[in-house]
Amino acid sequence: MAVVHRSVLPIRSQEDIVRVRQATRESAVAQGFSLVDQTKIVTAASELARNTLDYGGGGEVEITRLSDPPRRGVRLVFTDKGPGIADVGQALADGFTSGRGLGLGLGGARRLSNEFSIESRVGEGTQVTIARWR
């Protein structure tokens, strides 16, 4: 599996979330994703970027274009040094929110991706990785 392109964007403001969506779409387009696949990964990116900002206190995302012939993919790694998630299972459950959201973002991002993993330590931070392939 080869890395075709890699970039890192900060997530510190609303504008950054917009940029993350734009950069994700750009990568999905460059990898030849269909409109549906583009929309899926961009929406997942939007959810995870907002969680990084709202709950993780800000952080960054690494966007990687991957080549694994004949597959082509986009991988996103969101990292924050926030409070972490004590109960990941609960956070993933639909409808659970500690804020005022719908509680669908994390589970939704998982359903919108082909690969999903989450690593979180209380007091240290959270890292969510997703990938989508065409």
């Binding site: 917009v18 907002r50 939704g108």
Partner: protein, 290 residues
């Protein structure tokens, strides 16, 4: 330029990285340009450490007189990112460039120690170090200005996008064509102006058209659902139009429940449904059909 030039600079960067970082941080923390209100100390420490490490590796492999070469790509990328984030954090361009320039002092001090006996050697190496940091500082300023421009452009675009007017399509029928990013605070304002217009006109149906909204995520969905609920309390039904196939699929994957809301693919479809509904509500002698 003889091959030996820059050798001591390279050596210092490689051997004294920890000491340089310590000295540099001390200088920065003591400087009057420090902005503890905008940035935490550990973030400054992290950025300083990264810049030094990148500078060291670029200097080791690259030409010290051409900071636009491929060996310098990493440090340029880092500086571009740094300037953009500082622009957003509210640093001035001078403060941002000072971050790079302030490395001169600790670096020169080290050079002076190394060349205690050799004035010419010191002058040569200082000249090189000075040029490198000047070029990197100028690059930072350039990137800072570019970042600022982007922010301003975005803000302008966003303002335009979200000043979308509520239009009266027909008697009792309002339309709100939304265009652009929906997750900013102004969304609230747009939605409120729709509710106000419902009150003012006594409209019974409001069509919210999201054809121009590129991404519908949970936050956008939540805004829409809230508006629909509030409109309902005021006696108006909402129709959401502009749900393209890819958006419909994404909404289903997210698990957002729009089953209580009438949705249509296009504004035209929504309008014809709205017409039927409002006519049905007219007194019989005023209706055109049935």
């Amino acid at each position: 330029m003889t091959p030996a030039t820059g050798r001591t600079l390279r050596k210092i960067l490689a051997q004294y990285q920890k000491e340089l970082l310590g000295d540099w941080l001390q200088t920065q923390l003591a400087a009057s340009t420090l902005r503890p209100d905008l940035m935490r100390e550990n973030e400054l420490r992290e950025q300083s450490r990264e810049l030094l490490a990148l500078l060291q590796s670029a200097a080791q492999n690259g030409n010290l007189e051409q900071t636009d070469g491929p060996e310098w790509a990493g440090i340029r990328e880092f500086l571009a990112r740094l300037s953009r984030s500082r622009a957003q954090q509210g640093f001035s361009s001078a403060e941002t460039a000072t971050f790079v320039f302030s490395l001169k002092q600790p670096l020169f001090t080290r050079l002076r120690t190394e060349f205690a006996q050799d004035a010419q050697g010191l002058a040569d190496e200082m000249w090189i170090a000075n040029n490198v940091l000047d070029r990197l500082g100028l690059y930072t300023t350039e990137m800072y200005l570019k970042g600022r421009e982007e922010v301003i452009q975005r803000q302008q675009r966003e303002m335009m996008e979200l000043s979308t007017p509520v239009v009266q399509l027909w008697e009792n029928i309002l339309a709100l064509p939304l265009i652009g990013t929906l997750d900013s605070e102004r969304t609230q304002v747009v939605m409120e102006s729709l509710l106000q217009k419902i009150v003012d006109t006594g409209a019974s149906i409001a069509i919210i058209d999201i054809t121009g909204v590129p991404t519908v995520d949970t936050l956008v969905a939540q805004h829409l659902l809230k508006t629909v609920a509030a409109a309902r309390l005021m006696g108006a039904d909402c129709i959401i139009s502009g749900i393209r196939p890819q958006i419909a699929q994404t909404i289903v994957h997210l698990g957002v429940n729009l089953s209580d809301v009438t949705t249509k693919a296009s504004l035209a479809d929504a309008f014809s449904i709205a017409l039927k509904r409002t006519q049905a509500k007219l007194p019989p002698q005023m209706g055109t059909t049935s």
